[in-house]
Subunit: 213 residues, 2 copies
DNA sequence: GAATTAATTGAACGTACGTTTTATTAATGT
DNA sequence: ACATTAATAAAACGTACGTTCAATTAATTC
């Protein structure tokens, strides 16, 4: 046998990507073999190499596209206003929506970094860094304008990222928890974290633990 | 060759554990071979099987001991008082100290769950569940007593866990960031998250001039 | 000092891996 | 229709994997 009837390069490549995302997110990059992947796609292992030169390149491409899509989504969602609170809220909402919609890809981008070659790792980390920088810039602006009250920009940024990315670890939308409800709660928690002054929560007094030396 | 001079079962087993924790945390369970592990220990691959029947059992033992040590550490650190704020503070402090001290084991317990058989996975998840239940109980008590003000106990618990466990992902103690300083900041952020009220009158103060990058 | 137990080696088993090569068929362009 | 290109299959390459087994030596016991 050779070329099969109805075969189409574009469709096959898309099918490989899709199957790879699902399998790698589920079992891990190292645990998924090219034979497994080919079987899922319904093709012989050799056919994969028409579309992706190596297994690692396939992983890298999936990661790169996910990170670029994340940055692009934020670029689109980013509000025009300079108001730090509005911008931070948009950031959190976009982040949660994006990560819930692409749970598998996010899992891969977070878990499989160590399977990348040094150069590819650096590339992905640069994209990640650019994204986190956006958050830090917001926090700094809010702190300087007085909209936020926080101890440490870097630590707060990491805390927020960990918190809102962690949603995908446990969240499955059901009748009890909706995407909107979860987003609302996480938005509220984020605002507390940065010490945002809102009209609704002025009666709260935050913990007195303050800056260290 | 056979038994080597000075060989000692206890020491060899400890060396295997130690090497396994380091290698698996660094490269991932699937990526580490028994041959690699044996080479690191300075022994032939077959020798490993005197101490651990299979590779997966070795992973399971490392995870189980880590989780049991975590529960045990909390059991020791848990304050006698019923005060929710005091107890939550102790929880966060213990959690961060434990996870920084055992970064590699934590990494393994968080990342390699999918390499466990269903029964072993269930076992580990039960231990983890017991730990998280402690946190939820604290939050519930604090919410009922009025010490805390929060929207959703389950979501807040997950947010806190993600946030304080995330420390090990990026934190390396250096001259700029000490364990104590990071712990203090995370403690403060946790108290904000749960809407803790303090008896000390703390008014809204801008952190502007004291901000760190 | 002989017998027993503990610790390890060396070699091998069967299997699976990522990848390459070559041949073959389907679709496309002329 | 025919030549060309696109898409795949089939088979094989060398390598590495987890694990087992028998043999061998060191330490311990009596």
């Amino acid at each position: 046998m050779a070329r099969t009837t109805g075969s189409d390069g574009e469709r096959t490549e898309a099918a490989i990507r899709e199957a790879a995302v699902d399998l790698i997110a589920r079992h891990g990059y190292e645990a998924v073999s090219m034979r497994q992947l080919a079987a899922r796609v319904g093709v012989q292992p050799a056919a994969l190499y028409r579309y992706f030169p190596t297994k690692e390149e396939l992983l890298f491409i999936l990661m790169r596209e996910h990170m670029e899509a994340l940055l692009s989504a934020w670029s689109d969602a980013r509000p025009a206003t300079d108001d730090a609170t509005t911008r931070l809220a948009a950031f959190v909402e976009n982040h949660i929506a994006f990560h819930i919609a692409r749970r598998a890809q996010t899992h891969i981008s977070n878990m499989e970094l160590r399977s990348l070659s040094p150069e590819r790792l650096t590339f992905i980390l640069k994209l990640r860094g650019a994204y986190e920088k956006e958050l830090r810039a917001m926090l700094r602006e809010g702190a300087e304008s007085g909209a936020f009250d926080l101890d440490d920009i870097g630590l707060t940024a990491m805390a927020i990222i960990q918190m809102i990315t962690g949603v995908i670890v446990w969240f499955r939308p059901d009748e009890r928890l909706s995407v909107e409800g979860v987003t609302r709660t996480y938005l509220s928690m984020t605002m507390r974290l940065v010490g945002a002054s809102t009209n609704r929560e002025t009666h709260h007094v935050h913990a007195g633990t303050r800056l260290r030396a």
